[in-house]
């Protein structure tokens, strides 16, 4: 017998699952198996806490925080399986395709600690403000700024980013030069 909670949950999952999986894919640096595990775990947690989730001032922020918590929690669990180790990606050149660039980004993200990776994903994939990112991560705005700055420095080293430095947002500020063709995201 389906309950009101069940119907609301189904509706939420239908509406938001794709974005949760995409976010989790970035949070796990391209590990799609782990991303799916995290999304399943997060959705179960949301269902268990459904009344609180429904009352949340910002349900999307609540869900993002649950997803990040699931990621951090994963680091405290035993490895249960071995991931096949792909060859290191070739360096990105202007002629290379997007999949190679994505692979190299994942390689760079993989070298960041989980919460630093999460700060980057929330700021630049979800376009969250420093304050909203801090709320999602359960930390101070100063921590978000320092984590984001360090993450960008480390990414620049790995990616050898060709972007003009002036295009790079100062740590802690909202990026201003987004491509207009990119879809707006709101988990």
């Amino acid at each position: 017998m389906k309950t009101v909670r069940d119907e609301q949950f189904r509706s939420y999952v239908l509406d938001r699952r794709v974005e949760l999986v995409r976010t989790a894919t970035l949070l796990t640096a391209g590990d799609r198996h782990l991303a799916e595990d995290l999304v399943q775990s997060t959705l179960t947690q949301l269902y268990l806490a459904w009344p609180a989730f429904q009352r949340a001032r910002n349900p999307n922020a609540y869900a993002r925080r649950a997803l990040v918590n699931a990621l951090v929690d994963e680091k405290r669990r035993p490895w249960r399986r071995e991931h096949s180790t792909p060859d290191l990606p070739e360096p990105v050149s202007p002629e290379t395709g997007s999949s190679t660039a994505a692979d190299q980004l994942n390689q760079a993200l993989r070298e960041l600690p989980p919460r630093m990776r999460a700060a980057l994903v929330l700021r630049y994939f979800h376009d969250l403000s420093v304050a909203d990112t801090a709320e999602a991560l359960g930390c101070t705005q100063g921590t978000v700024k320092s984590q984001t700055a360090r993450a960008l420095d480390r990414l620049r080293l790995v990616l050898d980013c060709t972007a003009d430095d002036q295009d790079a947002p100062a740590p802690g500020l909202r990026p201003t030069s987004f491509s207009p063709v990119l879809p707006a995201t709101n988990l």
Binding site: F9, V13, A29, L43, T44, R81, H83, L105, E111, L112
Partner: protein, 233 residues
């Protein structure tokens, strides 16, 4: 850094217009099961019956978890009997004995000792797995399970855990910690910092009955070679 956002949108994977209804139903079924489980757990905890029953069943199914037991997970060749690739001279204090390793050395690492009755299950530059002789399994989706095994890897700083109990140890003069992993029974992972800044990480699955000293003794005989690669994540 607008390139970063573009790359993130590509790296996030496909964006299908709809979600498969079957997957949604599975999410709902899983969530409902978790809710039922939690409610039953609460009722059991209040009566004290479920907790006692669960402990008893676990101890019977996994005898190696009992304190002082030298047993290994079910299906293992336990004790001091050597596998085809292992020598003798082991001791049994603190769980399954360690014996000299005399077989072919794996990729990425060299071994001085292995648990008696165990062998190299699989190895490549990214990971070395040890398991009881004849441990049979089929990879699922290209993944090989670590459960019931010892896993040796070289891990980056990002993999170092936090927020869980850790015991400080010394491995061949190098500082390390043994982390008690969450939700894995007695599964522990030893992290020993290397000169490169990475960690030698050895996960010992629950059931081997090893003391921390035995884990350290095993780790002292594990050496990383140049062909080993670092796992990050």
């Amino acid at each position: 850094m607008s390139d970063l956002r573009t790359m993130m949108f590509q790296a996030a994977g496909p964006m299908p217009a709809t979600t498969d209804v079957q997957i949604v139903d599975q999410d709902l079924a899983r969530a409902r099961r978790a809710l039922r489980h939690r409610r039953v757990g609460r009722i059991g905890a209040s009566s004290g019956l479920v907790a006692v029953a669960a402990v008893g069943a676990f101890a019977i199914a996994v005898p190696g978890l009992l304190p002082g037991s030298a047993s290994t997970p079910s299906g293992t060749a336990a004790g001091t009997s050597s596998s085809a690739r292992a020598g003798s001279s082991g001791t049994t204090v603190g769980g399954t004995a360690l014996v000299s390793y005399t077989g072919k050395q794996p990729t990425g690492y060299t071994l001085d000792k292995v648990p008696a009755g165990w062998e190299i299950n699989r190895s490549d530059a990214g990971a070395l797995l040890l398991a009881p002789v004849g441990f049979a399994e089929e990879p699922v989706d290209g993944m090989v399970s670590f459960q019931g095994k010892i896993a040796v890897m070289q891990e980056g700083e990002a993999s170092f855990p936090s927020g869980i109990p850790m015991d400080k140890v010394q491995v061949a003069g190098r500082p390390g910690v043994i982390a008690h992993m969450k939700g894995g029974g007695d599964t522990r992972t030893l992290f020993v910092k290397q000169r490169s800044g990475d960690y030698l990480a050895i996960q010992v699955w629950s059931g081997l009955g090893w003391s921390n000293d035995r884990i350290v003794e095993f780790a002292a005989g594990v050496h990383i070679t140049k062909s080993a690669t670092v796992s990050q994540g």
